[in-house]
C-alpha cells in the first residue's frame, strides 16, 4: 500500500514537472490578441510605496491606452506580481510572469538591487524589460533587452554634489549609506568622485547601515564629531525618516541630502518635521506648472482618491507609454522587433521629461533638486546632464496615443532659473532637457 502511494506520488510529481517544462519557454513570436505586460514590484514589503506607485502609474497608463482604443486596436492587460522588495523573489516572480503568464514585456523594478536580480531572467527569455526608476548603471548593462526611462546614478550623484558645493557652499560632506543596496552604494561612489575630484570638497566621515536597522545614533554620533557641512544619505525612505529624526535628537544641524529613494508619502509619516531643510534629487516635481504635469497630477488624483503622484508613479506611467509607443512602431510584440523599437525611442514626450534612450539603453534627462519643507517637496532647481540626448532627431518622430496634450517642452530660457548661475556649466545640454527650468520661478521661496 505504502509503495503504491509512493509510486502515485512520484507519478504526480513527474506529471507536474513535465507540465511545467512544457510551458517554460516564452515564445518569441507575437501570439496576437490582448497584449500582456508584466508589472512587478514591492507591494507588501519594506518599500511597498515604491511598488504601489509603480502599479498605479502603469495601470493608469494602460487604462488610458485601452480607453483610447488600445495599441493598434489591441488591448493591454497588466499582470501584477509582488516581490516583497526582495531580490530573490523579484527573480522568481519575473520567471513566473515570463514563463507562466507569457507576458510580452515587463515593467519594473524600482530598487536597483531587485532589477539587477530579475533582469537576467527577462534577458534570457528575450522579453523586453523597462525599469521605470532603477538608477544604478548596472541594471541595463545586463543585456540588450533591459531598458530604463530614468536617468542613472553617475548623474544623480553628480547633481547632489554640484548642489552641495555650488548652492549650499559646502566644503565638508559626511556620507551615511545603505550597505545592502546597490543603489545607495553606487550613489555615494558617484557623489564622492564628483564632490572630491571635481569640486574640491572633502568627505570627512563615511558610515554605513543595514536595511531594517532602527538605530542610527552610533553612526550619526561619529558623523557629528566630524563636523560636516552636509550629510549625504542616499538611502530608501524607510530608514531615512528615522535617520532624520535621530539626527535631530542628537542636535545635528547640517542638512541631509538624498536621492529619489526618499520619494514616498510615507517619508513624512516617519521623519516628520525633522526632515525640514533636507534636499533630494528627483525625476520631476509635482509642483511643476507645466500643463502636461498638472494635467497628469489631476488625472492621477481623480483616479486614486486624491493621492498625489510621486516620481515613481510618473515614471511608471512613462515606462508604460514608452512601451506602448514602441509596440505601435514595431507593429506587434515579436521580441527582437519590440526590443529594437524600444531602443529607438527618441524625443518621447513623457511626464518626467523628454525621453530619448542612448546606446546604453538609458534615458538622459535633467534632474530636479527639491527641498523638504512642511510635508512637501518644494522645487529648488533643475540640473541638466552635461551631454544631452541627441538633438538631431525631429521631435515629430514620436507619437504616443495618450500624449495628445500640449507639448510638455514649455521651455523658458536657462536664465529664467535664478539658480542658473550655479548650474550654467551643465546648461549646455539640448534645449529639450530644460523643461523644468521654468518651474523655478513659481515655487522659489
Amino acid at each position: 500500500m505504502r509503495r503504491t502511494l509512493i509510486a502515485l506520488g512520484l507519478t504526480a510529481a513527474l506529471v507536474a514537472a513535465s507540465g511545467c517544462t512544457s510551458r517554460s519557454t516564452n515564445n518569441c513570436t507575437d501570439p496576437g490578441g490582448v497584449i500582456k505586460v508584466g508589472v512587478y514590484g514591492d507591494l507588501t514589503g519594506q518599500t511597498s510605496s515604491f511598488g504601489q506607485s509603480t502599479r498605479n502609474g502603469s495601470q493608469m497608463a494602460a487604462d488610458e491606452i485601452n480607453a483610447a482604443g488600445g495599441i493598434n486596436g489591441r488591448q493591454v492587460q497588466l499582470i501584477l506580481e509582488d516581490d516583497q522588495g526582495e531580490p530573490g523573489k523579484a527573480a522568481t516572480v519575473v520567471g513566473k510572469l515570463v514563463n507562466q503568464d507569457q507576458v510580452r514585456a515587463l515593467i519594473g523594478e524600482v530598487a536597483s538591487s531587485n532589477s539587477i536580480a530579475a533582469a537576467p531572467t527577462a534577458q534570457e527569455a528575450k522579453v523586453p524589460m523597462i525599469s521605470p526608476s532603477s538608477t544604478n548603471p548596472k541594471v541595463t548593462q545586463i543585456g540588450d533587452y533591459i531598458f530604463r526611462v530614468c536617468f542613472i546614478d553617475p548623474f544623480q550623484g553628480e547633481v547632489m554634489a554640484k548642489f552641495a558645493a555650488n548652492t549650499l557652499k559646502a566644503k565638508r560632506a559626511a556620507i551615511l549609506f545603505d550597505s545592502n543596496s546597490d543603489y545607495s552604494k553606487g550613489l555615494i561612489q558617484f557623489f564622492k568622485s564628483s564632490f572630491v575630484d571635481k569640486l574640491s570638497g572633502t568627505v570627512v566621515a563615511e558610515q554605513a547601515y543595514a536595511q531594517r536597522d532602527r538605530d542610527f545614533t552610533g553612526q550619526l554620533t561619529q558623523i557629528r564629531s566630524a563636523n560636516p557641512d552636509v550629510i549625504y544619505v542616499p538611502g530608501y525612505y524607510q530608514e531615512v525618516g528615522v535617520i532624520a529624526k535621530q539626527a535631530k535628537q542628537l542636535g545635528i544641524k547640517a542638512p541631509l541630502l538624498g536621492g529619489d529613494g526618499w520619494d514616498s508619502p510615507q517619508l513624512w509619516d516617519l521623519g516628520g518635521e525633522a526632515l525640514n531643510g533636507s534636499f533630494i534629487s528627483n525625476h520631476y516635481s509635482v509642483d511643476d506648472p507645466s500643463p502636461v504635469i498638472q494635467d497628469f497630477v489631476k488625472r492621477y488624483k481623480a483616479k486614486y482618491n486624491g493621492t498625489a503622484p510621486d516620481a515613481l508613479a510618473a515614471l511608471a506611467y512613462d515606462a508604460m507609454m514608452v512601451l506602448a509607443d514602441a509596440i505601435k512602431r514595431a507593429n506587434g510584440t515579436e521580441c527582437a522587433a519590440l526590443r529594437d523599437a524600444i531602443a529607438q525611442t527618441k524625443d518621447f514626450k513623457g511626464i518626467t521629461g523628454v525621453i530619448s534612450l542612448n546606446a546604453d539603453r538609458n534615458a538622459v534627462k535633467p534632474a530636479v533638486v527639491l527641498e523638504l519643507r512642511d510635508k512637501r517637496f518644494v522645487y529648488k532647481e533643475t540640473i541638466n546632464p552635461d551631454s544631452g540626448p541627441g538633438t538631431t532627431a525631429s521631435p515629430a518622430a514620436s507619437t504616443s496615443p495618450a500624449n495628445t496634450n500640449a507639448s510638455p517642452t514649455a521651455n523658458s530660457s536657462p536664465a529664467g532659473n535664478t539658480s542658473g548661475g550655479n548650474t550654467s556649466a551643465a546648461n549646455k545640454a539640448a534645449p529639450n532637457t530644460m523643461r523644468n527650468a521654468n518651474a523655478g520661478n513659481m515655487n522659489k521661496p
Binding site: T44, Y209, G218, T221, S225, K245, Q249
Partner: protein
Amino acid sequence: MDTFVQQLINGLNVGAIYALIALGYTMVYGILRLINFAHGDIYMVGAFAGYGLAYFIAAKLGLAGPSWAGLLIVLVGAMIVAALVGMAVERFAYRPVRKYSRMTTLITAIGVSLLIENLFVARYGGQGRGFPQLLQDDTYRLFGNAAISKSQILIFVVSIALMLLLQWIIYKTKVGTAMRAVSFNLNSAKLMGINTNLIITFTFALGSALAAAAGVLTAQYSPTIDPLMGITTGLKAFVAAVLGGIGNIPGAVLGGLLIGVAETMVVGYGANVGIASTYRDAVAFAILILVLLLRPSGLLGSTVQEKV
C-alpha cells in the same frame, strides 16, 4: 570624550530595550525551560497596540499630539494588550503541547512566531509605519557635543522603574514566591498546592507586558514599527538573556546592556580596528558563540548539573 560618552548613552539606550525583552525570555525559560521564540513578536504586537491606542485616544479623547497623559495611557494600554496576547499564546499554543517533549514546545514557539508575523503582514502590510510622537522631543546638551534626548531619558527611567517593579513582584509578593517555587521544580510546587498553570500564565503576562513597554519606548526613539521588527531585536534580546545566564533575572539586564553597548561601540569605533559598522548584528551573535564556548551558563548563571 564627548563622542565616547554619547556612544555610551546610545548603547545603554539600545541595551535597556534589549534588557526589557530579555527579561521575558529569561523568566519563561526559568519556569518552563522553554525558549519562547514568539517573544520578539510580542514586542512587535505591543508596539502595534500602542500605535492603535495612540490613534484611538487622539480621535476619541482628543489627546492628539504629545502629552504625558497620552503617553501613560498608550504605554499601560499596550502592556495590557500584549499581556493578554502572551496569555493567549501560552493557553492555546504551549499548554496543549507542554506534556510532550521540550522540542515539541520549541517548534510550536517557532510556529507561533511565524503565525503572528504573517498575520500582521497580511493585515497591515510589511511596510513600516510612523509611530505618533507622544512626547515633545527636546534634546538636552550635557557637555561638549554630548546630548541626551527626552525619549532617551524616558527609556532609562521607564525601564529602570519596570525592572525595580519586577524585582519587587518576584521577591516580595506571594505570586513571586510561587514563581520562584515553580522555577525550582514544577512538580514539587504543584504538590505544595501552587496552581502552576496560573503561575505560568502570569509569567507570560508579565514578560509580554515588559516587551510591550520596550516596543512603545523604541517607537518613541526610532519612530517606525513594522510586523517584522521583532525578529532581529528579539534574537538579540535572546542572546542577551543567554549572555547574562538564561533563567537569571539580573543577568538578563546585564546581558542586554552589554549587547547594546557592544554593538554601538562597533558602529562607533569598529572602523579603527577594521570592523565595519555593518557588522553590528554579527557582533551580538559572535558574543553568543563565545559565551556558549567559554561559559555556557552565562555571566551570572549558576552551573547546573545536567539531569540525565
